[in-house]
């Protein structure tokens, strides 16, 4: 049983650092989502705690939501690539694969299929979490083809509209006209239509949003994971501002996210009829789905 790998050997419990013991005693592993989950953040030991992200980073905030929203954290693997996000993701108490540049969805394809071979009766959730550069520029072909192949895992794009980790260069998801490094005269084309691409490529559930409400954010993440288990690829395109490169004063980060919600990151949700049916079943159950 999966949980065994995180339960300390009885003889050694008193020799482990507190942090690890508390993770099992007070963490979300094997617990009902109604006890843990985003609604109760702050009352249980979360999977991501200390991380090196910048002060006021909206991406770090959203990453905490991802991990608090996981339906089955003890059976989840995340995959990421170069970018700010992995600095926080790699601090989570969930296995994280850091591969090469933009290869997260190709890796996830291999991993998801391998898990289904080895564990036909256990649901292992694979989630790729990468930035706009990793997903839509350098990893574009691997992102798209994983969707075309109907690979059953969840893709989350943390869109800060720039290459934050390398110092603020133009990305495919930057706005037209944005003056950034490597676009000194302003970007001369608009944002890639990520959501439409995902729908066209066959994702069964796609959301675009600015995460200003944790419950709404968590619901989208959980839906994406549930649909990926049974139906096919799912995609979440989320606005996670870079307050450093876009000079958003820290106290205004939330206000900025609110404004985005009224603008280009207005909430949009796409689901196939099958996904709709599935959500009706899953969400009617009060209990947390245990695989």
């Amino acid at each position: 049983m999966s949980l065994k790998y995180m339960i300390p050997a009885s003889k050694f419990k008193r020799y482990l650092p507190k942090d690890y013991v508390e993770l099992v005693d007070y963490g979300p592993f094997g617990k009902d989502y109604s006890e843990v989950g985003v609604k109760n953040m702050g009352t249980f030991k979360e999977l991501v705690e200390e991380h090196p992200m910048c002060s006021g980073c909206w991406m770090a905030y959203y990453i905490k939501i991802i991990f608090a929203a996981l339906p089955n954290p003890e059976n989840t693997v995340t995959i990421g690539t170069a970018g700010c996000g992995r600095l926080a993701i790699s601090q989570a108490a969930v296995p994280f694969v850091y591969g090469n540049y933009g290869d997260q969805n190709a890796m996830a394809s291999g991993m998801t299929r391998a898990f289904r071979l080895r564990f036909p009766d256990i649901q292992k959730d694979v989630i790729t979490i990468a930035g706009d550069g990793g997903m839509m520029d350098i990893g574009f072909s691997m992102t798209m083809h994983a969707w075309f192949r109907r690979e059953k895992f969840t893709t989350i794009m943390l869109d800060n509209e720039t290459y934050g980790n390398t110092g603020g260069q133009e990305s495919g998801m930057s706005m037209e006209g944005a003056v950034l490094k490597m676009s000194p005269k302003g970007k001369n084309f608009g944002k890639l239509p990520a959501m439409q691409l995902a729908i066209t490529a066959g994702c069964v559930y796609v959301v675009k949003m600015s995460p200003t409400n944790i419950n709404k954010s968590a619901k989208a993440i959980r839906r994406a994971i549930f649909a990926a288990r049974k139906l096919g690829p799912t995609f979440i395109h989320v606005y996670t501002s870079c307050n450093i490169e876009y000079s958003i004063p820290t106290p205004d980060v939330f206000k900025d996210a609110k404004e985005m919600e009224k603008g280009r990151f207005a909430f949009e949700e796409f689901m196939t009829p099958e996904a709709k049916e599935l959500f009706a079943i899953v969400e009617s159950k009060k209990k947390r789905e245990v695989s």
Binding site: M6, P8, S10, K11, Y15, P17, K18, P52, S90
Partner: protein
Amino acid sequence: MSKKITVGPVGYMPQSAPSMGVELSPEGKALLYGNIVDEKEAMRDAAKALLTMDNPTIFPGPQVLWDWRDDVADKSAAILELASEIPNCKIIPMPDYRPKYPKIDVKAEINPNHPNLTILDNKIKACVFIGVHCHYANLTLRMIRAGTSCYTVAMCAMMGHEEAMASLRDVHADNILAFRDVVIEVRNELGIEHTPTMPPENPSLPKEDWGSLTPADYGEYRSLIMSRKGEHVAEVE
């Protein structure tokens, strides 16, 4: 016997033991200072180090710290029995392999990416690694040999480790107990009196109390949080 692998510090850029011609011991044999010897010989040398050098410590790794396999219960019990027979022995775990952020608590754990911090801070001169995955064990053993003067013993469930001063292979609960018996034997020969004592539990620090922080706690960075004369800070995080 010439020692191919010796207690460090061997210097800034260590040469790896395999590149110095050290090969893993065949089944039924052990490695001592890089040479293939009988298990008993390696155990006796390791026991002597653990009994005579300062602050002997056992570093259990993930494979024995968590209850993922049926053999863990026996193995962990055996490790504690071994520890109880070594005077002043401590147990400091290596719970995982990620570099610690923001910083390691060197009294509470050891990490393969910077093992020297724990070894040096605790002035550990002899140690045992057990239950660490081989890749990380090799990295950490080499770094310890590079930068510290600690005698290393590897008790490996698989093929052993060239980097350790003493390397025992195919180690299961029985072998740990056999090593405990050797420790007792050598201890008696050395005339060290000892009643079995369990090592102290993990001294994890209590949670830091941010409420009682004063600007002085920020040291050289205190100027960053103190407003300058005439400066008015309206909002803070």
